[in-house]
């Protein structure tokens, strides 16, 4: 399951919703907004996403994860809009029978997602400047 959300991410609710009677392990990852990037102080940032394309590409990542690891379900929610320092930008939950594959798959999902999902981040700095990250 994947969602781009304009509302704050609620990790407690998302974790509660990850239920499967055969799953003895739930590994979750939270990506949060950090106060500095490459030596510059960040005030806030904005995420923008291509929602349909992101959902389709997440479905591909989900299929690859289920093929590669012994896990039963993958959930992801990513924020869009304006975020402040400390806000949760992305949440991932992986359910599996056992913890080993759950940890490994969670790492795989966040790495793939960061490379592949069409989601952009604009940082706003204390000096009034702003910029899109990795905008080659």
């Amino acid at each position: 399951m994947f969602e781009l959300s304009e509302l704050p991410i609620d990790p407690i609710r998302l974790a509660k919703e990850c239920r499967n009677d055969g799953a003895g392990a739930l590994v979750t990852f939270e990506g949060r907004v950090r106060i500095s990037n490459q030596g510059r102080t960040v005030i806030r940032l904005e995420y923008e996403g291509a929602s349909e394309l992101a959902a389709n590409e997440f479905a591909n990542i989900e299929d690859e994860t289920l093929d590669k690891y012994d896990v039963v379900a993958v959930t992801c929610q990513h924020r869009v809009g304006v975020l402040e320092i400390g806000d949760v930008a992305v949440w991932i939950g992986v359910l599996a029978a056992h913890r080993g594959p759950a940890f490994e798959a969670c790492r795989f999902v966040i790495d793939e997602l960061k490379e592949r999902l069409p989601i952009w981040k604009k940082e706003f700095y204390t000096d009034g400047d702003s910029g899109w990250i990795n905008s080659a």
């Binding site: 291509a50 960061k114 989601i119 899109w132």
Partner: protein, 84 residues
């Protein structure tokens, strides 16, 4: 000539001043279409750093364009960071 819908995001949306636009084009592929929109809007990302999606799925630059296609040019994304 065909009509396609071009979608822009992030720095490309800001540069063009629009999230999407309808373009009448003789371009046969996204590769040719990208050249057109670069000269139209002065986008800075080189094509090597951009991906293309047609009708909400990633596609290759050589995919033949069809009438009514929605073509999204995807500039570099937020996450490609060396720190893990």
């Amino acid at each position: 000539m065909i009509h396609v819908e071009c979608a822009y995001y992030a720095m490309m949306r800001e540069r063009s001043g629009c999230a999407s636009e309808s373009i009448q084009t003789e371009a046969k592929t996204p590769e040719e279409l990208y050249e057109e929109v670069v000269s139209l809007h002065g986008f800075s990302p080189e094509r090597a750093h951009v991906k293309v999606a047609i009708n909400d799925s990633f596609a290759t630059w050589e995919t033949p364009l069809q009438e009514g296609d929605r073509v999204a040019f995807i500039p570099p994304v937020a996450g490609g960071c060396d720190h893990v």
